[in-house]
């Protein structure tokens, strides 16, 4: 039973996407777009329900399902385990909501069938990553993910989008090429002759012991290779650039599906292929950990510097993804728990933040942070959600972010203590990691809360002379179109340096429409995400229990 279910959840969205692509023209010409939307949403929902059924009926553990043989020992195989269930469950929770959101967001765009085709295909491919039972299957879906999401980054079809998508492609393929080295090595040094995931590692200890340094080098190569998708420094640059894509893509793919597939792959590679006992305390561990810490620092610092809202959030993603990688590089059960907690928690926080940014863009066409002054009073729900996700990202207690940071810091301290006690060189690095996390929390506070504060409490004096005068004028409800027009044009003059002049007319239109909270299609997902942040923050035990089981097996 679970066999067909596992195949179905992966293949259904992919096949559906293909069908949408094939019937692209009839859909557009026949005004069947509304039907297409409903069918898409239903399919995504059904798929999510199937994932839920799969996880519940198997209890998160299924047998092997070999689909076909690629070559020799390389079989394409699905196998659900607890870690895969967590990722698959997360993804299948988010996808229907994100699809709902994107209907509203993409309302006025052209080429929508194509967009939804690839968007839905990505769902299947991401589930493929989650369900993969061995390294080669994961590699296959990992590569596929690159190609399926490429059209989504390219979607705006501007020069900027083309450049971003090229960069994304080069980085991803290059990363996969280095991960491929890891794959080949694993195949040669495997204790079981295949590349199947085994909790606690599957390398042949004797053989691996002989070439330890070589294998460690390969680990580092593969860590960075898979890490490219998780935007590890210095291969992070594609992520902020890729925020030219429509917001549903940035939110779901570049905060969850794609980038977390990268982090997930690193976790798999560390805990289920190499095994932590082989790696713990070696230079490879310190190399990986240092890279993660540098990325955290770099990402959060750059986020403060960035003035474009979506790019700022993207930099924040860069730093937060490295929290997960940092957890992975601690290489203890606690580290895995911390990493997975952050993987789940960050998904809700960041998708929420991005959806808020998308809602703002959709309602007001505003993309820069200094344009947001005073908007909070007109879009209260949106900005409240944004504030919540910001607080959570900082790691304030009550919110989900606190749980994950707490777990990470705990893991770092406990392993750092052990390492120092055992006299392993480099044992101080986990302590540095704690410092970095605290620093990053401070930076997160700055870059997230400044946005919220600007929106809710525009600086009175500055507001009148800067671009935000519009909103101030609107709030004081002087109301006449003449004054609104006049104010907005002066606002444009003031902010001409930052804002694109071409946006003028559009923006004026947007303001005349009266900025307000978006429709329920957008708000429902937002509110659900905020609720989830609180649920995880206040009642994390069920999640932690599952994660502890994973940690117990794989650590």
């Amino acid at each position: 039973m679970y066999d067909s279910l596992m195949t179905a959840v992966v293949l259904l969205p992919i096949i559906f996407g293909f069908l949408l692509l094939i019937f692209n023209n009839p859909i557009r010409s026949g005004h069947h777009e509304r039907t297409m939307e409903i069918v898409t949403e239903c399919l995504v929902l059904v798929n999510s329900l199937m994932v839920a059924a799969l996880i519940i009926s198997t209890g998160g553990r299924s047998g092997n399902l070999v689909l076909f043989r690629l070559y020799g020992q390389l079989t394409v195989m699905f196998k659900l385990d607890l870690m895969g269930s967590v990722f698959a469950g997360l993804v299948s929770f988010l996808w229907p909501l994100a699809t709902l959101y994107s209907f509203e967001y993409m309302k006025n765009e052209s080429r929508r069938p194509m967009f939804f085709a690839f968007y839905t295909m990505t769902y299947g491919v991401t589930l493929g990553v989650a369900l993969a039972g061995n390294l080669i299957t994961m590699y296959l879906f990992y590569e596929m993910l690159t190609f399926v999401t490429l059209p989504l980054v390219l979607y705006p079809m501007t020069r900027e989008a083309a450049r971003a998508s090229r960069q994304y492609l080069y980085y991803s393929i290059g990363g996969a090429a280095f991960a491929f080295i890891g794959l080949v090595f694993v195949l040669s040094y495997s204790a079981i002759g295949t590349t199947e995931f085994v909790a606690g590692g599957m390398l042949n200890p004797e053989l691996a012991g002989q070439h330890k340094n070589l294998l460690l080098l390969v680990y580092v190569l593969a860590f960075f290779g898979f890490g490219v998708k998780a935007a590890i420094f210095p291969f992070h640059d594609w992520l902020p650039k890729a925020s030219v894509a429509p917001t549903p893509v940035t939110a779901l793919l570049h905060a969850v599906a794609v980038v977390k597939s990268g982090a997930f792959a690193v976790l798999r590679f560390t805990y289920f292929i190499y095994g932590t006992s082989f790696l713990r305390g070696t230079w490879a561990q310190w190399a990986a950990m240092t890279a993660a810490l540098v990325t955290i620092t770099f990402g959060s610092t750059m986020a403060v510097k960035e003035i474009h809202l979506k790019r700022r959030l993207a930099y924040s993603t860069v730093s937060n993804l490295s929290y997960i990688l940092f957890g992975a590089s601690i290489m203890t059960p606690l580290g895995l728990i911390g990493a997975l907690t952050h993987l789940v928690a960050h998904a809700f926080m960041k998708i929420c933040a991005f959806f808020c940014a998308g809602a703002i863009m959709h309602q007001t066409e505003k993309t820069y942070i200094h344009q947001l002054d005073g908007l909070g009073r007109k879009m209260p729900v949106t900005f409240t959600c944004f504030l919540m996700s910001g607080l959570s990202l900082m790691g304030i207690p009550l919110f989900a972010g606190f749980i994950s940071k707490w777990n990470l810091i705990q893991a770092a301290l406990s392993w750092g203590g052990d390492a120092v006690a055992a006299g392993i060189p480099g044992g101080f690095i986990p302590y540095v990691g704690v410092g970095v996390i605290l620093y990053s929390a401070l930076m997160t506070g700055i870059y997230m809360l400044t946005v919220a504060i600007r929106a809710f409490f525009p600086a009175v004096g500055a507001a009148l002379s800067s671009g935000s005068a519009v909103s101030a004028g609107a709030v004081s409800s002087s109301g006449s179109t003449v004054s609104a027009g006049a104010v907005s044009s002066s606002g444009n003059a003031a902010s001409a340096g930052a804002a694109q002049s071409s946006g003028t007319s559009v923006r004026t239109e947007g303001e005349e429409r009266e900025a307000s909270d978006p429709s329920w299609l957008m708000l429902v997902p937002l509110v659900i995400f905020v609720i989830m942040i609180f649920v995880i923050g206040l009642h994390p035990e069920p999640l932690l229990k599952i994660l502890e089981m994973i940690g117990g097996e794989a650590g």
């Binding site: 070559y71 020799g72 296959l140 590569e143 090229r166 290059g174 090429a177 491929f180 080295i181 080949v184």
Partner: protein, 495 residues
């Protein structure tokens, strides 16, 4: 003796005779005859493959029943049958795909000349695959060169003429060196048939005589064939040749011709030379490092190239580098990988050339990077073909390129000194491939500012060829195991 054993000889002769007959018939008839000949020889190769696979050993076929020192020999095993089959399939599809262009590019009265060249090319390729005699190999190398030149030149266009001259000069240099190597070998051993020559060489190696001459022979033959197959740094003739010939010729030249020489080189290295000489001379190491250099430099040149045809051609330089790297690993697994890559690259590169034609057609005949923008909407099938080819080149799993990459990587494990260089070179080269191929793919799917006119529909044969090539790629990518096993089997019965 089974009747099937005659097939290698028959197929060479059929191809040759159809070339001769084509001289006196009209272009259209020559075309049909040529396609028929390719089809028949392909079927025969398949029969040879099946026969040798069943018997499990290769056989030597004496021409006219003259025994060893005087007679001429053909030797067929699984590997030869498989290679001949693949060459036939790629050739058939390439000729089919380029059919209309051939008629457009080639003057009507000279159309039969083109097909004469195709026939001769086929015959010489088959001869290179099957022959067991060094001098016969030389003769067919020359026929191959001339046929190749004809194929390039027949499109009477300034650039293709200069390309043909360049090709002629470089190729003659290669054949000359090859001939010198042969005559030296004949001088030293007194043999031209491969098996007796091997015995003589082994004797020399055992007695430590003629060490330097043997070294020279190896070097001269390897360099000669390396020039002819376009190994970096002897690749200067490649871009123009492949880019400016008519599409069918481009596909045949890039997919097959250089591969024929490589196959001959593998044959000489393993069937004539003794392992001692090979190891002592460092020939393999030299080939290995030049192969790696080719992988890098070919891709770097390709990145700088704006013209699509030349870009694909430079990519061939890189792929030839892969093959030499595999040979240079010096293990059976490495050679297996190299031979598999010969097949996979043949299928992929021909696909790229043929589908690129469809894209040019849809872009008003322009072929540079910028003009092809949006061609994916004007000619969807060709763009899909090109995308599949490009994805295969960057090693997307399930396509043939991935299996090649995997075989190269796993075979490197048997040679610890070359393990890391091989793997790193593969990774870097994959990334570089991604840069130039996928850049173009993205560009294909970026809509243009000017309005998209009618969706361009290619003729049925081009579309059929593209679809077949895509399928061939998938077959090589998904069902590679029997093919690789056959190559391994063939290599065992090879020497």
């Amino acid at each position: 003796m089974s009747f099937v054993q005659n097939f290698p000889f028959f197929s060479i002769i059929i191809a040759m005779f159809s070339g001769i007959v084509s001289a006196v018939i009209s272009g259209k008839k020559a075309r049909n005859l040529s396609i028929f000949a390719i089809g028949v020889t392909t079927c025969m190769s398949a029969a040879v493959l099946a026969y040798t696979w069943k018997t499990g050993e290769s056989y030597t076929y004496m021409m006219g029943h003259f025994p060893a020192p005087w007679g001429n020999e053909i030797r067929a095993g699984v590997l030869e049958g498989l290679t001949a089959l693949m060459f036939g399939v790629v050739m058939l599809l390439s000729v089919m795909g380029g059919l209309d262009h051939t008629e457009k590019d080639v003057e009507g009265s000279k159309l039969n000349l083109f097909y004469i060249m195709i026939d001769l090319m086929l015959s010489s390729l088959l001869a290179l695959v099957y022959t067991n005699d060094l001098f016969t190999a030389y003769v067919f190398v020359e026929i191959n060169t001339i046929a190749g030149c004809g194929l390039i030149m027949i499109r009477q266009w300034g650039r293709s003429l200069s390309a043909a001259i360049r090709y002629m000069v470089m190729s003659s240099l290669g054949s000359g060196l090859f001939l010198i190597g042969l005559s030296l070998l004949y001088d030293v051993t007194g043999q031209l048939l491969m098996i007796p020559a091997k015995e003589a060489v082994a004797q020399l190696a055992a007695t430590d005589a003629y060490v330097i001459p043997m070294l020279v022979i190896l070097a001269v033959i390897s360099v000669g064939l390396a020039i002819k197959s376009g190994l970096y740094p002897f690749h200067y003739w490649i871009p123009d040749t492949y880019a400016y010939a008519t599409p069918a010729a481009s596909a045949v030249l890039s997919g097959l011709v250089s591969k024929g020489y490589i196959f001959l080189l593998i044959k000489i290295l393993y069937r004539v030379m003794s392992p001692e000489h090979l190891m002592e001379s460092y020939t393999l190491d030299v080939l290995y490092w030049f192969g790696i250099a080719g992988m890098m430099m070919g891709s770097i040149h390709a990145i700088q190239e704006k013209d699509t045809g030349r870009m694909i051609a430079y990519s061939s330089v890189a792929q030839i580098g892969y093959i030499y790297m595999g040979i240079g690993l010096g293990t059976q697994a490495g050679t297996t990988a190299a031979i598999f890559h010969i097949f996979s690259h043949g299928a992929t590169k021909a696909l790229l050339f043929i589908s690129a034609v469809g894209l040019y057609e849809a872009s008003g005949g322009e072929r540079d990077y910028l003009s092809l923008r949006g061609a994916g909407y004007r000619n969807p099938l060709a763009a899909i073909g090109f995308t599949v080819g490009a994805m295969s080149m960057v090693g997307f799993p399930m396509l043939s390129g991935f299996i090649s990459k995997l075989l190269f990587a796993t075979s490197a494990f048997e040679n610890t000194g070359k393990l890391l260089p091989t793997l790193i070179a593969l990774a870097i080269s994959t990334t570089l491939n991604a840069v130039y191929f996928l850049r173009l793919v993205i560009s294909l799917y970026r809509p243009e500012k000017r309005k998209v006119d009618e969706v361009h529909r290619d003729s049925w044969n081009l579309r059929l060829a593209v679809v077949c090539f895509i399928l061939l790629n998938l077959v090589l990518g998904l069902f590679s195991q029997p093919i690789v096993r056959a190559i391994g089997q063939g290599l065992i019965m090879f020497s």
